[in-house]
């Protein structure tokens, strides 16, 4: 349903992505794996229209997204969870969720406040606290919940485990599995192969802005050469 075909992206003059293609289908979790600076976040930001894409096509449910402004891409049903937990620190948890609210979408699961508070019990308790006072783990949960409030048709999850305590990463794994169980496809960017292997069905390996490998998670785990060469494990 989400398809990226042969895109080239730039930051200013710098050519960051070359010929990147990937696809995400209903109900699957796909990981985009690579080192810091390999182009993971740029790929996700390219899909969101936050980075200049000069060539190629991006489409979701058959509708072209390339060149559209970010907010329209979001309204088409692409949910974006940024790296580094960009919650609105001076808004309460409740207000953060309200900021993410969008009308329900046909063919996508619908999330109400109560559904999210079931999924994230910690947030229910902290409902009226300022997001800036939450712990890092709680903030990461809040960014995911905020995105779900938009009733997206798919989710782009940018490095959700980075810099978080092991116990929080375990919670995130559970959340990803629960979202997946709702039929929502997830594109995950990650550099931790171990974490990726616990949640993903398929993988793309990216290095210096090019896709170097695509296949099932199992195939990647079997392919020591690729892992050595591009993931430095």
């Amino acid at each position: 349903m989400l398809s990226v075909e042969k895109i080239h992206s730039y930051y200013g003059q710098a050519h960051i992505l070359t010929d990147v293609s990937l696809a995400l289908s209903t109900g699957e979790v796909v990981v985009l794996i690579g080192r810091n600076g390999a182009g993971k976040s740029t790929t996700i930001k390219s899909i969101m229209g936050m980075v200049k894409v000069t060539e190629g096509d991006i489409s979701f449910d058959g509708e072209a997204l390339r060149g559209e402004p970010t907010h329209r891409i979001a309204r088409r049903g692409i949910g974006y969870v940024p790296e580094e937990r960009r919650v609105f620190t001076r808004l309460t948890v409740q207000e953060n969720l309200e900021a993410g609210q969008q009308p329900p979408r046909e063919g996508a699961p619908r999330w109400r406040f109560d559904d999210l508070f079931d999924l994230f019990p910690n947030l229910a308790e902290a409902r009226h606290r300022l997001a800036g006072t939450l712990s890092g783990g709680e903030q990461q949960m809040l960014t995911i919940a905020r995105t779900l409030m938009g009733n997206p048709g798919c989710i782009l999850l940018d490095e959700p485990s980075e810099g978080l305590a092991p116990v929080v990463v375990e919670q995130i794994i559970k959340v990803i599995q629960q979202i997946k169980a709702q039929g929502l496809p997830i594109l995950l960017s990650e550099q931790n192969l171990y974490f990726a292997s616990l949640v993903s069905d398929r993988a793309y390996v990216i290095e210096t802005g090019r896709i170097r490998f695509s296949g099932t998670m199992h195939e990647l785990e079997e392919n020591a050469e690729i892992r050595q060469q591009y993931l430095a494990v």
């Binding site: 930051y11 003059q13 740029t42 936050m50 974006y80 207000e95 900021a99 969008q102 905020r146 995105t147």
Partner: protein
């Protein structure tokens, strides 16, 4: 006793208009990150529109208030046009371009207002039903003041509800923190920005309109309120509407009581209050510490590199041309080139502060004018010889920079910039008002060089040596350990502090050095013209410097020189027209929209590759931020 009570209430009354205007400025900055210099102009327009609407539809009690609301709406409409036509294209441009563009709007509005309402001060209409006075324990007080006192808290409450109880308000607050994220949640940023800009403009317009019965409307309102608004925003804490309210009350009370105690010293009192608050609470009364994202980015990511061989050759050629110039052109053009040299030194001193220090000063003319006045006062009152005055003037300007800078470097980014403007306005006011010493608006006259240097030719060479010497000195400092240390504070305050650099001290010394160099330019100026007027310290002169830096482009040190030449040419061409401000404003706006790199920047961009203008390619087409995000 009752006198004090009435004075107190009167202070509260004048706080309302100030609060309305300042809150609008704060809201606009919060979301769009644009410091809207034209905000004072919107306030002024509010007053003029109010004047007209009250005359047209203002019959009766309801009509009057309806007219004021109409005025606010009309200013909102002006804001809408400014946002759609100009600012929308500049949100991603460096901050300097936004500032210059809004400054262009100031000039345009000034001339349009002059054309539409004339040069005479307009007496404000009285509010029907509220024309009388009440006696408070026997002391009379206008009834309208009571209405004004109510207006402030009413608007404060309305804004609170808007921002805390509506989805739009929540989105605005969210966008204040992270506007890209808000867009990623499906919110149309452009619409939000436009809405916020219109709201802020309307608040300014309303502020100007409601003070009409008290203060009337005139063409000097824009800069007057601008400095006060900046003080309110800095003292109250940027982004805090309640803080703005408290600060507006505090400053207005200070003004009204100050007049009782020390009629000539209200500005000095304001200065002291601001200073005390900033020393105790650098973030203002209710402000939060500035986060990294709020940093004023003047658009200097790259560094100056030592000159390459071709560039050195080019500079040598220009210098040679300047040396033989007297043979080639007549006296008229020599005087013109003297003007350019003086302005080039002035602009280079600002460029140094901005590019190497990352410190954008909106009040640099305080030191240019400061140097000019220092020299003029020394000559007038101490019969100081020309040579000594020329030497002492930069010291005087440096001293002024030390005092102002001591406060300003406590803040950073846009707060720093606003504070420099506020201080510069205070300095201007002192020169303007202290007529016993400075002759006020009539200026100081008859400040000529010694006999040996009074001929145009000799003075030309003197100016050439001093200005070029000054520019080379600045360049030398940029590549000295001091300049590197300063650049370090610009690049990363975190790292700079961690390797033992005293950031504030490094910045303060840079500020003083830049101030002294501007003062040197000012001294040259006063001796070339023979007189000095308060205009040389005014906000528009500070903007001239910013404009020169912009015209020349921010990325090269020859930029300010090119900028000074372009500016002088532009100014001389336009000044002959009656509505020259309008033309200059339109030109500025057009230039900013068309040449976002500045003239020299654009030229260098196109020529640079062929001419090898720099010692080595920096490889810095990719900036740090971009790589990190990639």
């Amino acid at each position: 006793m009752s006198v004090y009570l009435v004075q107190f209430l009167s202070g509260l009354a004048s706080a309302s208009a100030l609060f309305l205007a300042a809150s609008g400025l704060s809201i606009i900055f919060g979301v769009t990150r644009v410091v809207n210099f034209a905000h004072g102009s919107f306030y002024m327009l509010g007053a003029f529109f109010g004047y007209t609407f009250v005359r047209e539809v203002g019959g009766g009690g309801i009509g009057f208030w309806f007219a004021l609301l109409l005025a606010a709406l009309a200013v909102g409409l002006v804001g809408l046009v400014v946002e759609l036509v100009i600012l929308r294209r500049l949100y991603k441009a460096p901050e300097l371009f936004q500032l210059i563009a809004t400054f262009g709007v100031i000039l345009i509005v000034q001339d349009v207002a002059l054309w539409a309402w004339g040069a005479e001060d307009l007496l404000g209409p009285r509010a029907p039903g509220l024309t009388g006075i009440v006696r408070i324990f026997g002391t009379p007080m206008p009834v309208y003041d009571l209405a004004l006192i109510a207006a402030g808290p009413l608007v404060l409450a309305a804004l609170w509800l808007l921002f805390n109880r509506t989805r739009w308000g929540i989105l605005v607050r969210a966008a204040t923190e992270d506007r890209e994220m808000v867009a990623a949640l499906g919110v149309n940023q452009s619409l939000l920005f436009t809405g916020v800009f219109v709201l802020g403009s309307m608040l300014a317009g309303l502020g100007g309109a409601i003070q009409l019965p008290k203060g009337g409307a005139d063409l000097l309102m824009d800069f007057g309120i601008l400095a006060e608004m900046f003080v309110v925003v800095v003292v109250g804490g940027m982004g805090s509407i309640l803080g703005a309210f408290l600060a507006a009350v505090l400053i207005s009370l200070l003004n009204t009581f100050g007049i009782l105690v020390w009629p000539d010293g209200t500005l000095v009192l304001m200065f002291i209050l601001m200073a005390v608050i900033l020393v105790v609470r650098p973030t203002g009364l209710l402000g939060r510490p500035e986060t990294a994202g709020h940093k004023a980015e003047a658009g200097f990511e790259t560094a100056l590199r030592p000159a390459g061989p071709h560039y050195k050759l080019f500079i040598a050629a220009v210098l040679a041309l300047l040396l033989v110039l007297p043979v080639l052109v007549g006296e008229f053009y020599l005087i013109l080139v003297i003007d350019i040299l003086v302005l080039a030194l002035f602009a280079t001193s600002l460029h140094f502060l901005m590019s190497t220090g990352g410190l954008v000063s909106f009040g640099h003319a305080a030191f240019y004018g400061g140097g000019a006045y220092a020299a003029a006062l020394l000559v007038t009152y101490a019969a100081t010889p020309f040579e000594l005055a020329l030497l002492l003037a930069p010291l005087g300007a440096g001293l002024l920079a030390l005092v102002i800078g001591w406060f300003c470097v406590r803040l950073s980014g846009v707060y720093f910039a606003m504070l420099t403007l506020a201080f510069a306005q205070v300095a201007w006011s002192i020169v303007f008002q202290w007529s016993d010493v400075t002759n006020g608006d009539d200026g100081l006259l008859g400040i000529w060089p010694s006999a040996w240097a009074s001929g145009t030719l000799v003075f030309y060479f003197l100016a050439l040596v001093i200005a070029v010497g000054g520019i080379f000195l600045i360049r030398r400092v940029i590549f000295a350990p001091f300049g590197y240390g300063l650049r370090a504070t610009r690049d990363s305050t975190l790292r700079a502090a961690a390797i033992g650099i005293d950031i504030k001290r490094q910045q303060l010394v840079a500020f003083v050095f830049a101030g002294a160099m501007a003062g040197l330019a000012g001294a040259l100026f006063v001796f070339s013209k023979g007189s000095v007027f308060p205009d040389e310290m005014s906000i528009p002169r500070s903007f001239d410097a910013l404009l020169m830096v912009l015209l020349g482009g921010v990325e090269s040190l020859s930029g300010p020189f090119v900028g000074a030449a372009a500016f002088t040419y532009l100014h001389d061409e336009l000044i002959t027209f009656e509505y020259w401000r309008l033309l200059l404003g339109l030109t500025i706006v057009a230039l900013v929209l068309l040449f976002p790199q500045g003239l020299a920047g654009a030229a260098k961009h196109y020529l640079g590759r062929y001419l090898k203008l720099e010692a080595e390619p920096t490889g810095a087409a990719v900036t740090k931020r971009e790589v990190r995000e990639a």
